[in-house]
């Protein structure tokens, strides 16, 4: 029998600019905080979290690891019905932090444990609209010592049991009974985030957003070798021919028969198309 769901349901939301611009010359990514927000997958995750928290009589908390402009995202979550929110800030904010799933997961797990307690269920989008790697949920499950399920398109909670439908390749689906506690990442499918009511929207506009400073320790660097990588040479047996000239020809393949490349020289598009079709027929493609 599954363990009864404990009341804390966390919705992890990644603050991301889906319309970031990349400078073609420098490769620099230019983002605009005004257009940033959660991805569709994260919005689905929040809706799942709200529904499951309601069904389990639990508490839904929206959490993000992001700078101050991301508080709009948390206000929206409050307006939609989240019981509380938490912003995890990183000293000297570096926009590359969320790109490292391990670093992000470590900071989030620490903040959730210390500020909110042990979560029963953590829900997040399985990928963000920008450069998200999708690795954060796996790292977070490892940090929290939870089960993990990913690629979910449906989630339902009843009688202490969390059931999920997972998308597989070729249109197939897989039903899962997810043991709790767990980290579940959902796809943007099946449901949409509810429209917040006006009274809760107004209340959320002036709500105080709790902020906790995240501890993002530098990634430990492991030195695997002190010298440049030198792959071992692969031995290839020489051609069996005794005559050096024949061995050379075998190695270079100089006299082997090859079909010369076919160059279409006509300027007439119709003729060129006919020639291309003839070639494909000759090769058995048509």
């Amino acid at each position: 029998m599954a363990e009864p769901l404990r009341p804390l349901v966390v919705a992890l939301l990644r603050w991301t600019d889906a319309r970031a611009r990349i400078d073609p010359l420098s490769g620099e990514v230019e983002t605009d905080p005004r257009g940033a927000g959660p991805s569709e997958a994260d919005r689905c995750a929040l809706e799942h979290a709200l529904r499951i928290a309601e069904a389990a009589a639990g508490r839904c908390v929206a959490v993000t690891l992001a700078p101050e402009p991301a508080e709009e995202l948390l206000r929206d979550a409050l307006a939609c019905g989240a019981d509380a929110v938490l912003r995890v800030d990183v000293p000297s904010w570096d926009s590359r932090v969320p790109d490292s799933g391990a670093t992000t997961a470590r900071a989030l797990a620490h903040a959730i444990r210390t500020e909110l307690g042990e979560p029963s269920l953590v829900l997040t989008g399985d990928h963000s609209a920008d450069r998200g790697t999708g690795s954060t949920p796996a790292f977070l499950a490892a940090e929290l010592g939870c089960a993990q399920a990913l690629g979910l398109v449906e989630l339902s909670y009843a009688d202490g049991e969390l059931l999920a439908l997972r998308r597989l390749d070729r249109g197939r689906r897989e039903r899962l009974a997810v043991p709790l506690p767990a980290v579940c990442s959902v796809e943007p499918a099946g449901l949409r985030l509810r429209r917040a009511a006006l009274p809760s929207t107004l209340a959320a506009r002036t709500a105080t957003i709790p902020v906790v400073t995240g501890s993002v320790a530098a990634e430990p660097v492991t030195a695997h070798a002190a010298r440049p990588f030198r792959p071992r040479a692969k031995e290839l047996p020489p051609p069996p021919e005794a005559d050096p000239r024949l061995r050379l020809l075998r190695l270079t393949g100089a006299h082997e028969h090859r079909e010369p490349p076919r160059v279409v020289v006509t300027d007439d598009p119709a003729e060129a198309a006919d020639e291309l079709l003839e070639y494909l027929r000759g090769k058995g493609y048509l």
Partner: protein, 449 residues
């Protein structure tokens, strides 16, 4: 089902609220709405600023110049903090005809120094900045929320708005409609006399990316200096005009097209714009630029005579919602009139709220009339009609280009002809009678003088 704003929507009758949630509701966080909210919040009134987009400026389309003089009163020292693309130091008026063009080019370096004259800006940045001041003063910004209907009592007094959110009724003592051109709220209040299609134009704009240095070289500017080019005769017979403005590393090039003329022509606006970009005077300026955005928006260009009633029972109308866009040929201004009308609406509402006499809202019109907002519109009331007339739109660009071409074409050994003779020849070639030319000149003098 979500309630939606639309031409068929009507006001909702509700009971008189015992305790309105806010002193004032401002609908629309554009320049007019934010200015109104700022004035109200500074006076200590509670104000909700509704915005349909996810942030102020996200839904706006604009390709013009912000003339910030009114900001001296609203936000002293504004030019040190306003998000500016370029300060306009060079202003051109260009008449186009076929492959020819005639340009009047004026430059003033003093416009590039404090206290400045006008600037190009991105509305997503500008509106957000102005709304930020309103928020800092205490206004509550409510984004992603559409005001769909007015709430009015049985006696007809407007006491709030219904929004498209669940439980979305919001009540206040005063509502200020700054919901833009084609204001459904002003229409619901019965403040618009008739159909606005004849007085409304469609603005289409392309934002084209170019390196800042290329823009500097092509337009003869440097640093934060910018250029404003207004065009006539580039709309293929459709009443309207064209524009080209320089931003830091983009150009805004576009057209303003009369709605009815555009529909009658059967042409697509993007086709007319593509033709403008191929003109020999424009093509070298935009060559190689990358299209980053195409946008379109309606513009209320009818002027003073097409404005709605500005005051209703518990309601004020400001900005584009009140048709406060000046399209008078050589003067094309909108944002400053929006800010001015919003500021005076905020002051009138503030005075009415402080005195407890909502009848004081009627002072709004007086404030506008004693300022540039209605004074300029009243003075230039005949200008839109003249500028959009068939002669100005289709014949005068050709007349001017013919006249200048004849003047500067050297036909030795023939002696140079007199200017009067050339003017008569040009007028005749373009089907303009000298009497009509004189009459239009007089109308122009009366309008602009």
């Amino acid at each position: 089902m979500r309630d939606r704003a639309g031409p068929a929507s009507s006001a909702v009758t509700v009971a008189e609220p015992e305790r309105p949630q806010f002193d004032a509701i401002v609908v629309g966080a554009g320049p007019a709405g934010s200015a109104a909210a700022l004035e109200l919040a500074r006076a200590g009134h509670s104000v909700a600023l509704l915005e349909r987009g996810p942030f102020p400026g996200s839904k706006n389309v604009y390709g013009g110049v912000v003339y910030g003089r009114i900001l001296d009163e609203l936000i002293p020292g504004w030019y040190d903090e306003m998000p500016v693309q370029r300060w306009v130091t060079r202003r051109q008026t260009m008449l186009l005809d076929g492959e020819r063009s005639m340009t009047v080019d004026f430059r003033s370096q003093s416009w590039g120094r404090a206290p400045y004259n006008g600037a190009t800006t991105y509305r997503a940045e500008f509106d957000d900045w102005l709304a930020g001041h309103a928020q800092k003063a205490g206004a509550v910004l409510v984004p992603s929320t559409v005001a769909t209907r007015l709430l009015r009592t049985e006696r007809g007094r407007i006491v709030g708005v219904r929004t498209d959110r669940p439980d979305g009724d919001l009540t206040a003592k005063v509502v200020i409609a700054c919901d833009g051109v084609n204001s459904f709220l002003a229409k619901q209040a019965g403040l618009f006399p008739g159909d606005q299609a004849a007085h409304t134009t469609l603005g289409v704009k392309e934002t084209l990316a170019l390196p800042a240095r290329t823009i500097d070289e092509r337009f003869g500017v440097s640093g934060h200096e910018g250029v404003d080019i207004e065009m006539l005769g580039c709309t293929q017979g459709i009443p309207g005009g064209g524009f080209l403005y320089t931003n830091s590393d983009t150009l805004s090039v576009g057209l303003v097209l009369g709605l009815q003329g555009l529909a009658k022509s059967g042409k697509r606006p993007e086709e007319v714009l593509a033709e403008l970009k191929r003109h020999p005077s424009i093509q070298p300026l935009v060559r190689g630029a990358e299209l980053v955005e195409y946008s379109a928006h309606l513009i209320p260009e009818g002027g003073y005579d097409t404005m709605p009633q500005l005051v209703g029972d518990g309601l004020l109308v400001a900005g584009d919602a009140a048709a406060m866009c000046l399209a008078a040929g050589i003067w094309l201004e909108g944002v400053n009139f929006a800010m001015g009308s919003g500021m005076y609406a905020g002051r009138a509402a503030s005075k009415a709220l402080s005195s407890g006499d909502l009848g004081a809202l009627r002072e709004y019109r007086g404030l506008l009339e004693s300022s540039f907002v209605l004074a300029d519109h009243k003075k230039l009331r005949k200008a839109p009609e003249l500028v959009l007339s068939e002669r100005v739109q289709q014949r005068y660009p050709g007349l001017v280009c013919d006249l200048v071409e004849l003047m500067f074409t050297v036909e030795n050994p023939k002696p140079k002809p007199g200017v009067r003779k050339l003017l008569r020849a040009s007028a005749k070639r373009n089907g303009v009678k000298m009497r009509e030319l004189a009459r239009d000149a007089l109308t122009g003098l009366r309008s602009f003088g």
